[in-house]
């Protein structure tokens, strides 16, 4: 099985081109590694376009809002 890092790397470019997506990372969900997809808003339009798993790795959608320099 490929690592979460590899799965994230494979998909991040296309995910970042998806409307509403501002980031892709790696976190933990129920004690297991997962791919985190950061989105600007909790809207059905944005969420419907996102996968539930990526190459068998679970996905966690994180509503972060837009990121800005501070």
């Amino acid at each position: 099985m490929v690592s979460v890092e590899e799965v994230k790397r494979r998909h991040e470019a296309s995910l970042l081109r998806t409307a509403g997506v501002v980031g892709v990372g790696i976190g933990q969900k129920d004690g297991k590694p997962c791919v985190r997809i950061y989105v600007t808003e909790d809207s059905p339009k944005v969420l419907a376009a996102l996968p539930l798993t990526l190459d068998d790795v679970p996905v966690e959608i994180v509503v972060s809002g837009p990121f800005k320099a501070r």
């Binding site: 501002v22 950061y38 809002g65 990121f67 800005k68 320099a69 501070r70």
Partner: protein
């Protein structure tokens, strides 16, 4: 009644308050008129007197006769109290936003044309010690030039070019609008090594650098939200981050969630993210309404070829 009238007359003649039948005048040294008891060496001398508050109390012979405050007004004795000038109470800014020498991590700092950010910590190469912060704090998002003055506190906190220059911009890692960025960082060299210390305000000395771990507790000391605690939720994020000049993609970033409240806000950029073992883990540079984002300090050291002091 006599007392109230006497006070009105004095307010008119010394403070310029209008009163029918009199010409208002302003006395340069009088800042207030009131009523109260008269004390001399803590002993009660008069039950009621007219109190003249003055900027400066002078010997009677030093005051021109026309400007002297009379011994009594309409039979009511006077007293002269030195009070300097009255002003509204401005809140005293927290130490994070004030001028501090030697300067240290956590304090307000900024390029002379930037509002304000945070001084992260000191770093060194083989010869020199520098202050570390973000490109967008010390180099104004690629717009700064080598030698530009760096103010402490930053301009937004009252920092001025004629008295608050701490350092000069030395170098920065250019932000790339088309490629993938890893750090938002810059170095400035203090005018004098004695003007800086390697402490971080309310955190203390740093003990080197390491990679952050998923789920670990961290803290930071910054200009706006001061000392806060959080948890690392992501240690390898790729994010799009908005700047004044557009949005830039960053990879290999750290995402922190505040523990019981926000972890950072505008002006905290440049703060060092510190582990419980006092190791430097990240350089704060951005955030969303719910998260804070930092570069990995290991990447910052590599990009600038320096080590955390």
């Amino acid at each position: 009644m006599r007392v109230a009238e006497a006070r009105q007359v004095c307010e008119c003649l010394y403070l310029g308050v209008k009163l029918d039948g009199m010409t208002p005048a302003v006395h340069p040294n009088v800042v207030g008129v009131g009523l109260g008891q008269k004390l001399a060496r803590s002993q009660l001398v008069e039950d009621l007197c007219l109190r003249f508050y003055v900027k400066q109390k002078l010997h009677v012979l030093l005051v021109p006769e026309a400007e002297r405050i009379p011994v009594e007004v309409e039979g009511i004795p006077t007293d002269v109290i030195e009070s300097r000038e009255f002003s509204i109470w401005r809140p005293i800014p927290p130490v994070y936003q004030r001028k501090v020498r030697p300067a240290m991590g956590g304090l307000s700092v900024g390029h002379y044309s930037v509002t304000a950010g945070t001084l992260g910590c000191l770093v060194k190469d083989r010869r020199t010690r520098y202050i570390l912060s973000n490109n967008h704090v010390l180099a104004n998002e690629n717009r700064g030039s080598e030698g530009d003055p760096i103010l402490q506190p930053g301009r937004f906190d009252g920092g001025r070019l004629d008295r608050d220059v701490l350092a000069r911009l030395v170098t920065y890692v250019a932000l790339d609008p088309d490629g993938v960025n890893v750090v938002d960082s810059a170095l400035a060299e203090p005018h004098s090594p004695d003007d800086v210390t390697s402490d971080v305000l309310n955190i203390g000395r740093l003990k080197g650098t390491r990679e952050p771990q998923l789920g670990e507790s961290v803290r930071k000391s910054g200009r706006t939200t001061r000392l806060t605690k959080g948890v690392v939720e992501d240690a390898s994020a790729t994010l799009r981050v908005g700047y004044s000049g557009g949005s830039f993609v960053f990879t290999d970033q750290v995402v922190v969630r505040g523990a019981g409240g926000g972890f950072s806000s505008g002006g905290d950029s440049g703060a060092v993210i510190v582990g419980e073992d006092a190791k430097a883990l990240g350089l704060l540079f951005g955030g969303s309404p719910f998260f804070t984002v930092a570069n990995k300090m290991t990447n910052v050291e590599k990009a600038l070829d320096v080590a955390v002091v």
